[in-house]
């Protein structure tokens, strides 16, 4: 932007501003765009806070004085029903007389751990498979690409349930199952990009000076495919969190007494008419978390690839980018109203 300013004010070289014109890498530009995106920044702050809460769960529990798995005899009403918020229990209790607030805080640990680690595994696996398939081509690509197609064609919820049933539900099992059904989408993207990148001259040059395939894949190709990978990975986190809570709701994910938002919500169903807090609080926690990751993911996508449709587009329009599209849609809007859509 400073470059255009200099050109348009017609300044000569010796009149040039004392501050040197800074070159910015695409990553720096993306970072600046992300920082100026208020929604993305707010989401990032919420995510950091959630991580802090999750990390500090034992501390929070000891401050409140209610460990997550202790069933307090005075935690239920005389009829053995959950107690409403207030008094000793800030957000009320569950059907076993446990402190709901503490359990929700502990549930955040499970959700974030599952969301982040299964995404990490899926990303590493997907990038590796995609790079190898795209770079080597031929039979290797044929086999790996078919593998991706097969995984993507699986009815994944049904098979995930089957896998968890057989191998036993546990935290690591849930993470592994989610990772297994997530890597293929990433691998497909990386493969496509690698296929076109490997034909570029600089790759040929690298090969000519004797770089090993591994070096070419990691040093020369990987940095150029990392942007879409980052976007997809950010959006995989909320999907994984939803997946985990669904498995736990069906009783095939995280098992009691370990708290997860999914199994808290499953427990709430029987006590629904009365115990609204039992449903609403964990549901809100879940919604805030997945919404924050989704909004951050959208922000990252817009920052890395400003050409894509922006969710909250006000800022970009003000800057006059994508004028053409705005015009087009304004026309459509005008005509649309005229046509009485």
């Amino acid at each position: 932007m400073s470059l255009t300013e200099v050109q348009f004010t017609g300044a000569t070289v010796d009149q040039a501003p004392s501050r040197a014109i800074q070159g910015r890498s695409p990553w720096q530009l993306a970072w600046r765009r992300l920082r100026s995106d208020r929604v993305a920044v707010a989401s990032a702050i919420i995510i950091v806070l959630l991580c802090l809460v999750a990390l500090a769960a034992p501390l929070i529990a000891s401050l409140i004085g209610h460990p997550p798995a202790i069933q307090y005899p005075y935690g239920t009403t005389d009829q053995g029903l959950p107690k409403p918020p207030g008094g000793q229990f800030l957000l009320g209790t569950d059907n076993l007389g446990r402190d709901l607030l503490v359990r929700i805080v502990y549930g955040a640990r499970v959700s974030l751990l599952v969301g982040l680690s299964s995404t990490f595994i899926a990303t590493v696996l997907g990038v590796a498979v995609g790079l190898v398939a795209g770079y080597y081509g031929g039979v290797i690509d044929g086999v790996l690409a078919r593998g991706m197609d097969v995984v993507l064609a699986f009815p994944y919820l049904v098979l995930a349930l089957a896998l968890v049933t057989v191998l036993g539900p546990s935290l690591w099992m849930v993470i592994a199952v989610i990772a297994f059904f997530s890597w293929a989408a990433l691998a497909r993207i990386v493969r496509g990009q690698t296929l076109s990148l490997k034909e570029k001259e600089y790759i040929e040059a690298a090969r000519a000076i004797g770089a090993s395939p591994l070096r070419i894949m990691v040093i020369d190709i990987l940095p150029n495919v990392i942007a879409p990978v980052l976007v997809v990975a950010t959006l995989l986190v909320p999907t994984a969190i939803v997946f985990e809570s669904t498995l736990s709701y069906l009783g095939l994910g995280i098992q009691e007494p370990t708290a997860s938002w999914g199994n808290i919500l499953a427990g709430s169903q029987q006590f629904l008419p009365g115990a609204w807090w039992f449903l609403i609080f964990p549901a809100v926690a879940l919604l805030i978390t997945t919404l924050a990751f989704n909004l951050l993911g959208d922000g990252v996508r817009d920052a890395i690839d400003p050409g894509t449709e922006r969710i909250f587009a006000a800022r970009r329009r003000r800057r006059g980018i994508a004028v053409e599209q705005t015009q087009a849609s304004a026309e459509a809007q005008q005509a649309g109203t005229a046509g009485g859509v």
Binding site: D149, V150, A153, F154, P155, Y156, L157, V158, L159, L161, A162, L163, T165, V166, G168, P238, V242, S245, T246, Y249, L250, L252, G262, L265, A266, S268, Q269, L272, P273, W276, L279, A283, L286, L287, T290, L291, N294, L295, D298, E309, I311, F312, A313, A314, R317, Q325, T326, A328, S329, A332, Q333, A335, G336, A338, G339, G340, V341
Partner: protein, 320 residues
């Protein structure tokens, strides 16, 4: 000719996927720690009794032989017999299909109307307040697990009405043949649940691809030759924009045959998904296999139908 070759290739790939699914699931469940024969013999089951049951069920044969028999029966359209109820898996699935199909078809109609409607509105009025709020709604829909939407709906509608003595919308299934009115009444909340969760994806897809399509040259041509805007948007724009929507619909409907388990559980509809959960509990291998195969088949068929629908919807698409 290309078309025929394409279809044949897709069918062959589908068969490979199905075979891999049977192979995977079969061997997965034969390393299962809980032996169905032991469960069937009960707590006081003597080893002789267990061996007897094993022999009756064919569990004493090597796994590979059992698999061979299974494949043989499968190719004749026989999904086997439940270990526990002794009923044929074909009839079990057939009995469980009505609630699931009711759920999927009604849900799909709702989410298509809602999703495409919102998508078209927000594409033709891009960046308006309506578009923004639609976008936010979409994000919330994507961020909410199905079961949470279902539980919240139950809480907000059914339980609040029940408080005032109105006993409608109870979570249960009434067959259409028994009472269409009651069938509709009890299906409406499950439909809305499924539609709320899915409509989000559809409106996002419609909005994105309709915006793309409206920027194309042929739309300008259509406007230039003086067509009404309505005709431009619906006949020319939306037709091409619907291809990704059709893909998604195919995939969703296929997956939901077994994957509607969450909505079925929340509203206690019975159905294929809940039958699957029950079978998991008992380790009823042939029921599990049967449902997994039927689901996989639905996904495979849906994918092929989608590819064919492409060429019908968008004349530019060539099947290769």
């Amino acid at each position: 000719m290309d078309f025929v070759r394409f279809i044949i290739r897709r069918i062959l790939f589908g068969i490979v996927v199905l075979w891999l699914v049977t192979l995977g699931t079969f061997f997965l469940f034969f390393v299962i720690p809980s032996d169905p024969a032991v469960t069937l013999a009960g707590k006081g089951g003597t080893p002789q009794r267990v061996a007897q049951i094993k022999q009756r069920l064919g569990l004493d044969q090597p796994v590979i032989v059992q698999y061979w028999h299974y494949l043989d029966r499968l190719l004749h359209g026989d999904l086997g017999t439940s270990f526990f109820t002794g009923a044929s898996v074909n009839s079990t699935i057939k009995a469980d299909l009505p609630p699931t199909l009711s759920l999927i078809i009604g849900g799909a109609v709702l989410w298509l109307i809602g999703g495409i409607g919102v998508g078209v509105l927000s594409a033709t009025r891009a960046r308006s307040l309506l578009d923004r709020s639609a976008t936010l709604f979409v994000l919330i829909g994507i961020s909410m697990p199905t079961f949470v939407v279902g539980l919240v709906l139950l809480f907000v509608v059914y339980f609040q009405l029940a408080k005032h003595g109105i006993q409608n919308f109870a979570p249960m299934y009434v067959p259409f043949t028994q009472s269409p009115a009651q069938w509709f009444e009890h299906m409406i909340l499950p439909w809305i649940t499924l539609a709320l969760v899915s409509a989000a994806t559809y409106s996002r897809l419609t909005r994105g691809s309709l915006l793309d399509a409206l920027g194309e040259d042929y739309i300008r041509t259509a406007r230039a030759k003086g067509l009404t805007e309505r005709r431009v948007i619906y006949r020319h724009g939306l037709r091409a924009a619907l291809t990704p929507v059709v893909t998604q619909l195919g995939v969703d409907v296929g997956t939901l045959i077994g994957g509607a388990v969450v909505t079925e559980s929340v509203f206690d509809l019975g159905g294929v998904g809940q039958a699957l959960l029950r079978a998991f509990d008992f380790g009823d291998v042939y029921v599990i296999l049967g449902i997994v195969i039927v689901t996989a088949m639905a996904v495979v068929v849906a994918n092929i139908v989608v590819d064919i629908a492409y060429s019908v919807l968008d004349p530019r698409v060539r099947l290769t």
